[in-house]
């Protein structure tokens, strides 16, 4: 292991332990690491915006014939007026353009790409040739989807049939949220394991290399 690699592992270990130290108490090491972290994350955007937007998406194409790209160029410069309270209204057009295009896309794909296929794939036969397991699953699915939709229905008070369906809905919802919590715990623990794996295998592993 070369000197540079050793330095890199110790640098990462310092950053990791400095941030973990907050678990015990807020301390200067943590505050140093946190402020460097905020700065680096912002600095990353400078390089990214310059390269992937200004140079390759705006300037080069504009120079090689697509002159009308000066329009989005101006709109993106107007975005910076958001920083001054007096002129922030100038940036509204740029914001409106971004929101308009995104809303136009979302209007289509939310309905066509989510609602339609999700409704269609819930329409399964309640009985038929498949085994009991599949039919039971279909019944659970159909009841679960309908009762969840009814639970989030507000135009009428949840009484009578509507009330009963909503009541079934809340039990389904509780099972789903329980499953979600159980699943999430593993995710959070894995992230900790990733860091401890580095500290033990790479950092402590490098102790032998010193000297």
């Amino acid at each position: 292991m070369s000197g540079v690699e050793l330095f890199q592992i110790w640098l990462v270990a310092f950053a990791t332990l400095a941030l973990f130290s907050f678990m015990y108490k807020d301390n200067p090491f943590y505050r140093v690491a946190e402020h460097v972290f905020t700065g680096l994350s912002a600095g990353y955007y400078i390089g990214l915006t310059w390269d992937t937007i200004i140079v390759t998406q705006l300037w080069n194409p504009m120079m090689s014939g697509r002159w009308w790209l000066f329009i989005p160029g101006i709109l993106s410069l107007l975005m910076f007026t958001r920083l001054s309270p007096r002129f922030s209204w100038v940036s509204r057009t740029s914001l409106a353009f971004v929101m308009g295009v995104t809303a136009g896309g979302a209007l289509v794909f939310q309905l066509h790409g989510l609602v339609l296929p999700q409704i269609q794939s819930t329409m399964m036969p309640l009985w038929g040739s498949e085994g009991v397991g599949t039919l039971l699953l279909t019944i659970i699915m159909v009841i679960g989807v309908i009762s969840t939709l009814i639970y989030f229905y507000y135009s009428k008070e949840h009484k009578g049939v509507l009330g009963m369906t909503a009541r079934v809905g809340i039990w389904f919802i509780m099972i789903s949220f329980g499953a979600h919590f159980g699943y999430t715990v593993m995710g959070r623990v894995s992230l900790l394991i990733g860091r401890v794996q580095f500290l033990i295998e790479d950092w402590i592993g490098s102790f032998g290399q010193i000297g």
Partner: protein
């Protein structure tokens, strides 16, 4: 002028992108849609730079006024430019510049920024453990169902836990995956997805028609 122009822009941009869905790419509206999408990359992308400017401004202000903890703010400013400036300089001058492998930009991200992001998220494992102990009470029937399902799924998702579940008769892991995860949970998630998609579609329509303007802010 301050509101009508933006509303008109949002309407035109939204309608072009939405209506173009029903037309071929080669049509005039198909061409305009692709242009608007490319423009979105440029105009929207600038919001990233906007965030950087405001962070620099906030921290510069704190340093100038020697506010509490200002030396740490100096560190933030140094980090911003230590990462940003080399990335903007042309790569032809030195392999340390630009954004490619071997640049300062890449090195700082790989050996400082990325591990710190991973560590900040890893602290969640501690918090979830302490919350499981302190706050997770079977206060009522619903919370009890939630807790029982959560514990069963937690056990199932881990090799040791699954081996323990297999000691019991019947195939509990299969039941959990098929009737809980792909059954009740899937049905509820589908209900929520449909509800959320309807909400998002109606919000999109309000933005295009100019009814929803809160994103423009006041002033």
């Amino acid at each position: 002028m301050r509101t009508t122009v933006p509303i008109a822009v949002a309407f035109i941009a939204g309608m072009v992108v939405a209506v173009s869905y029903f037309f071929a790419d080669e049509s005039a509206i198909g061409w305009l849609r692709l242009e608007f999408l490319v423009w979105l990359i440029i105009v929207g992308g600038m919001t990233l730079a906007l965030g950087v400017v405001s962070i620099v401004r906030v921290n510069w202000d704190a340093v100038k006024k020697r506010k509490e903890g200002w030396p740490y703010k100096v560190l933030t400013l140094v980090s911003v430019f230590a990462m940003g400036v080399p990335a903007v300089l042309p790569e032809s001058w030195s392999p340390l510049f630009g954004r490619n492998q071997g640049s300062i930009y890449e090195w700082l991200f790989t050996y400082l920024d990325a591990p710190m992001m991973a560590t900040m998220f890893a602290t969640l494992a501690f918090y979830i453990a302490s919350a499981a102990y302190r706050a997770f009470r079977a206060r009522n029937a619903e919370a009890t169902v939630l807790l029982i399902t959560a514990t069963a799924v937690m056990l199932w998702r881990v090799p040791m836990g699954e081996a323990f579940l297999n000691l019991f008769p019947g195939d509990i892991p299969y039941f959990l995956n098929t009737y809980i995860m792909a059954g009740a949970n899937m049905a509820v998630q589908r209900g929520i997805i449909i509800g959320a998609a309807l909400g998002a579609a109606s919000m999109s329509l309000r933005i295009i028609l100019g009814i929803e303007r809160t994103y423009m802010g006041r002033g």
